[in-house]
Amino acid sequence: VSRSHRAAYLDHAATTPLRTAAYEALLAELGRHGNASSLHTAGRRARRVVEEAREAIAAAVGAGPSEVVLTGGGTEADNLAVKGLFWARQSDRPRPRVLVSAVEHHAVLDPADWLQAQCGAEVVRVPVDEVARVDVEALRSLVAQAPDDVAVVSVMWANNEVGTLQPVAEVVSALHGTGIPVHCDAVQAVGQVGVDFGASGLHAMTVSAHKVGGPVGAGALVARKGLDLTPVIHGGGQERGVRSGTLDVAAARAFAVAVTEAVEELPGSAKRLTELRNDLVSGVLAAVPDAVLRGDTDSAGRLPGNAHFTFPGCEGDSLLYLLDARGVECSTGSACQAGVPQPSHVLRSMGVREDDARGALRFSLGHTSTAGDVAALVDVIGSVVERARRAGLASRRAEAGRA
């Protein structure tokens, strides 16, 4: 097993390499000083860079500049949306219900569950179908039960594990006229598919810099003008008073450069990734005929760069090791703390059996992906799965006959 050749990086959904232009912008700004809240010349210069970045980010996602609340990343923006909207919605009457799709990222699910544990919220997970697409009728009837009790609804634009695009327009229309704010985590979608906040009818939307080739630790909550949001982080009152903290000028500019570039490359980049992804899917299925493509099998229903499989009889950690040892970097797709990887809640919500869910692998493509990366995977996946199958579900099998 040789590690000398360049690894095939198939984990762009985790993070995608920094774009050259973003890298240069980041370096340039790191060499300058100034607090964007200061009134002197250095501060005004910094402020100008931040505001230009805000305008560019807004333009890239179809929002107005004043709708962009810069945060320290997607997770923070999700927390601000879920908690901030929940709290703000308690001002006139108690509204305990938080409706989230069952396949949301932990950055949405965990704040919601925290609100339930700490603030008397009642979290309801809206079911999804077998491709992880949210059941809009179920959402509609959940809302109809007691519309005044619903504080906030959150449904992602595209699922981070299986890549399924959610019917955002239908979700918005189901909520139309109820006054219930709708949040959407669009972290995986921006730069892969067209995302237009203004046209979407959403109230709030999460964007992350490092998923589009910007730096880690930067993101934004795009929030409609006048949307009532209770702050999560208190302090100097930056960012409309809902997100205090000295602005990260360099990160904002690099984020803006990256998201602008990523969106400008559409739709050509999406077409290129779709073709690469389709080659990857057919190559994997040819090598491993009983692999199961999860998520929407219709190419138009999923992110261009996403392919997700379960490999029967295999464990994700065996597959991950064997691929890594052969220079292919990917992910099991589900949250894995330093503790124990849990069977994916996304796959479980889709009705995938726990044993099958354990053999899950996500391959995700991005702006640096090449046909060579796909070929590297297709070359080894057959023998890797064969070997992983031999290792079997060793960690699950209860001790058979005890001596």
Binding site: S318, V340, A391
Partner: protein, 372 residues
Amino acid sequence: MRVVAAMSGGVDSAVAAARAAEAGHEVVGVHLALSRSRGGSAASPASGPARARGCCTVEDARDAARAADALGIPFYLWDLSERFQADVVDDFVSEYAAGRTPNPCVRCNERIKFSALLDKALALGFDAVCTGHYARVEPEGRFDSSRDDEPRLHRAADVAKDQSYVLAVLSPDRLRHAMFPLGGTVKADVRAEAARRGLQVAAKPDSHDICFVPDGGTRAWLAERIGRRPGTVLDDAGAVVGSHDGAYGYTVGQRHGLRLGVPASDGRPRYVLAVEPASNTVVVGPREALAIRTVVGRGPTWCGPVPSVGAGLGVQVRAHGSESPAVVTAVSTQAVEVRLDEPLGGVAAGQTLVLYEGTRVVGSATIESTGR
């Protein structure tokens, strides 16, 4: 040779991995996730159970990962928590509930490290599992299964750290794929070596007790799982001298924590003589009443030829005990019985009986019963 180094996050396994890599093997570090650290159900993530201590904590996983970084070897986390729960933790609870005193480290070596982990490693194309145990395999690295060349397990050079007792359950076909690079070294040298190699864990304290039970809290931990089962404490004459909340909280030979209401007539300390789960009774008495001469072990595993009746061997009946001379008095596929040359106190059912010839492990069995 391709080697999985089981890395607990401690100094021993880190140095063992370093030595294996230095010997020219292709080493991959693996930290075993043995307990669920994220709070179970998605419905209550904020109120999950407290993290287990010991070999499963996030800090230990990080220490292991950092040691692998320092050695420049790949590192993975493998989830064996379900196997560990079923084969070690549940076994531990049910053994105590049955009035026996299990050794979970023996179970872990038998069923996790040199079973679940080794099987997985072999299937993935590895040749051996390397750990930081203090014990020696001779000859080492004989993967073919010719009988002439069967590996044998020996005590470590550092007798104070010797862990052959908790490995004695391994049969030769498991030992073939075991690598214990620290077997010939004393602990102090291992720490010095770790420091020399720039491993951050060089000064990390040794782990003690049971990795899945909070320090010194075995009785309370068991009570949470088995429940309160109040019963009486009798003296060796059958008189009631106290009460208890569960006979499982007591081990033969135990002296402290008896909370007896009636003082001994002679004022001398009393010890647990027997734990009787059927009647939920604990029997206490003077130290000399603990003395036993015969030990019966069930389910023996032999590392080499089965000893014959009359053979004089050394036996060890607890992890940190010393070796006592004994004679094999009966042996079958189901059981082995030995008679000790001198009486021994505090021998608890459920512990492991290990037989030695010189430094060599002859075999082991789980102690079923003892006699005078």
